[in-house]
């Protein structure tokens, strides 16, 4: 079971990465980041079967952080939308010195 679980989480993670890298809509990218987080959560849960409960405890922390991140991230995206009337990444290029 472990191999399948890890394989699934790897596939999910790569889908998330590809999504982050290729999509231009900030919301989609945000969802893909969540996907990557959950892929990692799956790995934690799968491995906790062999290495103890620590992995599952960690998953709870990750979900908490992800919730906080979702709140902040969405707030940023809304703020950007209000500012630029778009959430297309091609138009977001102010992060430079």
């Amino acid at each position: 079971m472990l191999a399948e679980s890890l394989g699934l989480s790897a596939i999910l993670f790569v889908i998330g990465v590809i999504g982050v890298l290729t999509r231009r809509n900030a919301i989609i990218i945000f969802l893909c980041v969540e996907l990557m987080l959950n892929a990692v959560n799956l790995t934690f849960v799968a491995l906790s079967r062999y290495y103890g409960m620590g992995g599952q405890v960690f998953v709870l922390f990750v979900m908490t952080v992800a919730a906080a991140e979702a709140a902040v991230g969405l707030a940023i995206i809304i703020s950007i939308f209000r500012h630029k009337q778009t959430v297309d990444l091609r138009n977001i290029n102010v992060m430079k010195g």
């Binding site: 990444l89 977001i92 290029n93 992060m95």
Partner: protein, 723 residues
Amino acid sequence: MAISGVHPLAATIAAWMWLLPVFPLLGFIINGALSMYSSAHIGPADPDMGHGGHDSADGEAHAASGHGDSHSVGKPRFASIVTIVGPGVIFLSFLLAAAMFFAMRGVDMTTPFVQKYWSWMPVGDLQIDFAFQLDQLSMLMVLIVTGVSTLIHIFSVGYMGEDEGFARFFSYLNLFVFFMLLLVLANNYALLYVGWEGVSLCSYLLVGFWFKDKVNADAGKKAFLVNRIGDVGLLIGMFLLFANLGSLDFTTLAASTGSLQVGGALVTTICLFFFFGCTGKSAQLPLYVWLPDAMAGPTPVSALIHAATMVTAGVYLVVRSSFLFSMAPVASITVAVVGAITALFSATIAIKQWDIKKVLAYSTVSQLGYMFIGVGVGAYSAGVFHLATHAFFKGLLFLGAGSVIYTMHAAYHHSGNHADAQDMRNMGGMRKAMPVTWVMMWIATLAISGVPPFAGFFSKDSILGAAFEHSHDSILSSATWLGMSGHTVLLGVYVFGLAGALLTAVYMTRLMLYTFHGPSRATEAEQHAMHEAPWTMTGPIVVLGVLSLAGGWLNLPSVASFLGPVGSLDKWLNPVVGSATLAITNGTAIEASHGVELTLIGIAVLIAIAGIVIAFVALKPAKLVTKDQSPGEHGFEKVLAEKYYVDEIYEAGLVHPAFVTAKNVLWRGLDVGIIDNLFVNGSAAVARGFAWIGAQIQNGSTGAYAWGIALGAIVLLSVFSFR
């Protein structure tokens, strides 16, 4: 203050010898402060204020005439304080030196009296103390330096009395005496070198004293730079000495020469490097060129620094290092040969010079050559003897010339003439106006020409006699020098010396004839304005005249025993140079038979008188015309008048190539090309390139950042996975 050992002098006034240089240093500080104060605060009370415009016009007139001896009108500020402090501190030093001299006569000392003040450079094996040593040689030098300095300082009070830089002049002069005393009192080469460089500095400051004329400033720079070339030689000699003997102080070195091989390559190299330093400081071939130019300074400076004291530092160095030179026959012969060639060479130049100070300058170079013949052939006390008598008569000649120039200037000032006040063609017949100077200058002329019983006769004769006698039965005569036997070379040196003596008599008589005899070539009004200089100037001249007359009694030759005690100076210096002199002569004191000695003296006197007679017969001062009407020189006379074109050759062969190299290779190639463009601008370009790459990465596009993070993660993971 630690006094090493118990020395018979420790309980005498000699224990106060540290005061000798302190007095002049105090004078320097006081006069320097006054000079800086008066130049910083020009108030309504300043007498120079009203003459500002006049002074600058005066300066331009002198610039046009090519000479620096200028006199502005009006008393400088603080003149009375400076008049007392300037010569006063030197006189105090002289009194102390005289007291120490009498204390030294009272004790029997064979080792120098060393006083250590503090440890100066304690670095590993290099232990250099700030320490003075007093022995018979230092004592004599201190007496000459302080004595002649006192006289010349007094002379300067009159000569520089109306110069606005009066206080500055005396502060430099005091500083010079301080460094000169440091030089002769030092008990190691490092401290000697401090004095050696210090006197160069003062020479530079004083040659360029009237620095508003570019000629004078250039002459100062030339003097300084040429001296530096020689100083490198002295430094290398010191390094070699320390590297091989592990010490620099005279006492230790003199005791450790046993580890050196007589005539070995090492000691010869050290001595040759030392002598190269001497050629710079004491104006010998090939580095003599600065001394004639140094005459751009005020005349008292020429008398004190460039005739009586500083330029003799090289002779002092050789005598001080006699324990080394006596082990290096080849180096000693080189010293004598260079001295002989210089003596003759510069005497020929002096014969065709028209500037009264230039004649004396080349004469000084020539006389220094004689001193080097003396110390080169191992007659160290004879060299020092000539050093002493030369200080008297050449100091006198320069002061006399200064007096003449002063009078000429005063006359020209009176008539508004802008002619050259130093050119002998503009003088003539000055004996009527200045009888005292005239008589005293004749005494000095007879002394330098070698007419008995004047001072120069005895000293020059003892040098030439030693050159002749040491060409037999000495380590020099048995040595080979450039493939020639030392015997032949020393005889050649003797002949050169005689030829130089003949020319000396000719050019000095020529100077006297053209300056003081014949009809005056000044205008009627100017002749009326000419009169003897004030007593502050004639007084020192008279004192030096007496010394030039009687200086020979310092060291009478044995054939002149009917005149007084024989060889006093030889006996006085024996503890210092006696062993070195004996080493030169294979351990036996050479005592030539009276017959030989009388023959040598006879030849010398005949030659001196012949020179004077030739000058009287051949020269017609009555036919001389003033400088601006004189026809140009032709043939060999022109070559002599142009000083063998040595300055031009140096300019074309050394200065110009150095300048071109400096400009094209060092400046444009190295400085601009490599340092500026490659290093400075190059490193900036590299930094800018990296910055450009960084700027391209940080483009603000979030997508690109995401790619960066992903690729970075992959790279890190790969590195950690496949390690």
